[in-house]
C-alpha cells in the first residue's frame, strides 16, 4: 500500500474509500481524455459499473466529480473524462506523476453472473463504464458485443481507447462506422434470445434502448449519471425518478434495472 491511504489523524481506523493516488498515464482521444491512476486500494475492491469521486486538483472547487471506472488492471484504475466545464478541464490537464485524491469505489455494480450473451450500448461519455464491464464479462466467459454511438469523428476517436473484440460504431454524421444513432445500429444486429443489455449514455438514448429491449423481451441494466455533491449517500442531491421511487444515483445506483429507469 505504498503512497496511498494515510489513515485518520487521531484514530487507528481509516475511511475505507479515501485514496491518495498518482497519475500513471494520460492519453487524449479527440474530445476525451483517459487517465490511468495507481490506486491499488480501489482496484482491489472495485466492480464494473462503480464510480469514484475525484477531487479537482489545484483548489477552487468545492465538489468532487463523479467518474465511472473505465478500466481496472492490476493496481491501475482508468478513468475516461469528457470536458464539461472548468472542473473537468482541470482534470484533463493532469500529467503523469501528479497527485489526485479520490474516494471509491462507490455505488452499485452491473450484475454479470450467469450472462451468456451481453450487449453493451454506449453513447458518448456513457461508453466509459463499458470497457471495465466488457473485461469482467469476457473473463466470466460471456460473449460480448458492444455498440457505441458518437456525434462526430472527433468524438469517435475515443473508440481507440477501448479494447472490446466485437465493437460496432455509429456516428451521427456518418464519418465513422455506421451513419446514424446506436438505435440504427441495433436494428441491424442479430440478437440472441436471452441476451442481457447494459446501457449508458444520454437519457434519450437510454429511453430508446429501453423501448427496443422491451419489444425484444431483453432484460437489461442502465447506468445513470447525475450532478452529485457528496457521492456517499448523505445529501440526497443526486436522486432520479425510478419505478421504485426517487433513488440516489450515488448509493442505490448508478446501475439500475433498465425497466425501472425513467429517462
Amino acid at each position: 500500500m505504498s503512497a496511498v491511504c494515510a489513515g485518520g489523524h487521531e484514530s487507528p481506523g481509516q475511511w475505507a474509500e479515501t485514496s491518495h493516488c498518482r497519475v500513471a498515464g494520460v492519453s487524449h482521444h479527440g474530445t476525451f481524455t483517459a487517465l490511468d491512476l495507481t490506486a491499488p486500494r480501489i482496484a482491489t475492491k472495485a466492480s464494473p459499473g462503480q464510480f469514484v469521486m475525484v477531487a479537482v486538483p489545484g483548489g477552487g472547487f468545492l465538489l468532487r466529480r463523479p467518474l465511472s471506472l473505465f478500466s481496472v488492471r492490476g493496481e491501475r484504475v482508468g478513468l475516461l473524462i469528457e470536458r464539461r466545464g472548468a472542473g473537468t478541464e482541470r482534470l484533463v490537464s493532469l500529467a503523469v506523476g501528479d497527485a489526485v485524491d479520490l474516494a471509491g469505489p462507490l455505488g452499485s455494480a452491473f450484475p454479470i453472473d450467469g450472462v451468456s450473451d451481453a450487449l453493451l450500448v454506449g453513447g458518448g461519455i456513457g461508453c466509459a463504464p463499458l470497457q471495465y464491464l466488457s473485461d469482467a464479462l469476457a473473463a466470466a466467459g460471456s460473449a460480448v458485443t458492444a455498440v457505441f454511438g458518437f456525434r462526430d469523428q472527433r468524438a469517435a476517436r475515443v473508440a481507440h481507447a477501448f479494447s472490446i473484440s466485437r465493437l460496432l460504431i455509429a456516428s451521427e454524421d456518418g464519418s465513422v462506422g455506421q451513419r446514424g444513432t446506436v438505435l440504427d445500429a441495433l436494428r441491424d444486429l442479430e440478437v440472441r434470445p436471452g441476451t442481457t443489455a447494459y446501457v449508458c449514455g444520454p437519457s434519450g438514448m437510454i429511453a430508446a434502448v429501453q423501448d427496443w429491449c422491451a419489444r425484444l423481451g431483453l432484460r437489461g441494466y442502465a447506468s445513470l449519471e447525475a450532478h452529485m455533491a457528496c457521492g456517499t449517500g448523505a445529501c440526497h442531491g443526486c436522486v432520479v425518478d425510478t419505478a421504485q421511487g426517487r433513488l440516489r444515483v450515488c448509493s442505490e445506483g448508478p446501475v439500475f434495472a433498465l425497466e425501472d429507469v425513467r429517462p
Binding site: 489523524h9 484514530s11 452529485m228 455533491a229 448523505a234
Partner: protein, 326 residues
C-alpha cells in the same frame, strides 16, 4: 496577541447552553449521514466520529420525497441545492433510534414543518420515544434545532422570515421539551436580529445561522432554471463574509445567547473567524462533501490556529471581532 502555545495545551471543549461539547465543530444538518458514513469506515467508527455533536438531516412529521431532480450544482465558490427536506418522516426516524444509540456525542435533532403544530408533533413523538426507551436503546438526544426555512402554509413565506411565525413555532415546541432548543435562522431577511430576538423571546436557548441564501442557477445551454425546484439555497465560501456579518450582528444584539455559526466553513481558520464574530460552536456543511475526513482536519486546524495566536480555548477567541465594532 500573546505568544504561541503548544497546540496540545489548547482546551477545545465548550459549553453550548446546557450542552458540554468536546470541541466547537458540529455538522450542518443534511451534510453528513451517520449511518452511511459508518459503512464507509474501517475501524471503530463511533470512536472516530469527528463532530462534537451530531445534527442529522431535518425530520418532518410526515415523510417527504423532496424536490424533483436536478437538485444540486456547484457555483463559483459555492453550491446551490434544492433537496426539499427529503426524509422518511418522524415515525421512521424514531423507529431507527437504536441504530445510532452507540454514538458518544450528543445529538441535536433538526426539525422541520409548515405549522407550529407540525414542529410540536415531531418533538412530542421524539420525547415520548425517549421516555419509553430503555437505557442504551436511543441516542443521546440533548437538543433540537428548528429549521424554520420551510414555507409557512398560511402565508407561503419562509417561517423564519416572519417573526410572529417564528415565535409561534418556538412557543409550540417549548411546550413539548425542556431540552436545549436552537432555532436555525434564514438569512433571507433585511435584519436578521429581528427573527433572532423573536426566537429567543419565545423561548429558544440558542440560534444557528445562517441557513442558505435563496438563489438561482441556469442551464447555460437552454437558459432555463437548472434546478427541478427552479430556485435553491446557496452555500459555501461565497456566502461566508455575509454569514460572518450576520453572526456578528446577532452576537452584538443578543449577548450571552449561544450561537452556532455556519456558512462556507472549509478550514479551521474559517471556524475561528465565526468564533471571533461571536459563535460558540461552528457547523461544517458543504466542506463535508469534499470527503469524510474533512471534519477531523478542521478540528485539528482549529486547535493549531488558536495555539498560533496564543489563545488557550475557543472562549478566549469568542467575540474578538466585535470588540470596538459596535
Amino acid at each position: 496577541m500573546s505568544a504561541a502555545l503548544d497546540p496540545a495545551s489548547v482546551d477545545l471543549s465548550i459549553r453550548l447552553g446546557a450542552l458540554r461539547l468536546e470541541h466547537p465543530i458540529v455538522d450542518a444538518s443534511g451534510t453528513f449521514d451517520l449511518l452511511e458514513s459508518a459503512l464507509r469506515y474501517e475501524g471503530d467508527f463511533f470512536a472516530a466520529f469527528p463532530f462534537a455533536a451530531y445534527v442529522p438531516k431535518t425530520v418532518t412529521l410526515e415523510a417527504r420525497q423532496g424536490n424533483p431532480p436536478p437538485r444540486v450544482m456547484e457555483t463559483a465558490s459555492g453550491m446551490i441545492n434544492a433537496i426539499g427536506l427529503e426524509n422518511p418522516g418522524a415515525a421512521a426516524f424514531v423507529a431507527g433510534f437504536s441504530r445510532w444509540a452507540q454514538l458518544r456525542q450528543p445529538v441535536i435533532v433538526s426539525v422541520g414543518g409548515n405549522t407550529p403544530d407540525q414542529f410540536a408533533a415531531v418533538v412530542r413523538l421524539i420525547e415520548q420515544r425517549l421516555s419509553a426507551a430503555a437505557p442504551g436503546e436511543s441516542p443521546r438526544i440533548e437538543g433540537y434545532e428548528l429549521n424554520v426555512s420551510c414555507p409557512n402554509v398560511a402565508t407561503g413565506l419562509q417561517i423564519g422570515a416572519d417573526q410572529a411565525a417564528t415565535a409561534a413555532v418556538v412557543g409550540a415546541v417549548r411546550g413539548e421539551t425542556a431540552r436545549f432548543l436552537l432555532v436555525k435562522l434564514t438569512p433571507n431577511v433585511s435584519d436578521v436580529t429581528v427573527p433572532a430576538r423573536a426566537a429567543v423571546e419565545a423561548g429558544a436557548d440558542g440560534l444557528s445561522l445562517v441557513n442558505t441564501f435563496k438563489a438561482m442557477v441556469l442551464d447555460r445551454q437552454t437558459l432555463r432554471p437548472f434546478l427541478g425546484n427552479l430556485t435553491g439555497g446557496l452555500c459555501g465560501p461565497a456566502i461566508k463574509p455575509i454569514a460572518l456579518r450576520m453572526v456578528g450582528e446577532v452576537a452584538a444584539a443578543l449577548p450571552g445567547v449561544p450561537i452556532v455559526g455556519m456558512g462556507g466553513v472549509m478550514t479551521g481558520l474559517d471556524a475561528l473567524e465565526f468564533i471571533a464574530c461571536g459563535a460558540t460552536a461552528v457547523a461544517v456543511g458543504v466542506a463535508n462533501f469534499g470527503g469524510l475526513e474533512v471534519a477531523a482536519r478542521i478540528v485539528s486546524e482549529l486547535r493549531a490556529e488558536l495555539a498560533a495566536r496564543g489563545l488557550s480555548s475557543p472562549a478566549a477567541a469568542r467575540g474578538l471581532a466585535l470588540a470596538g465594532a459596535a
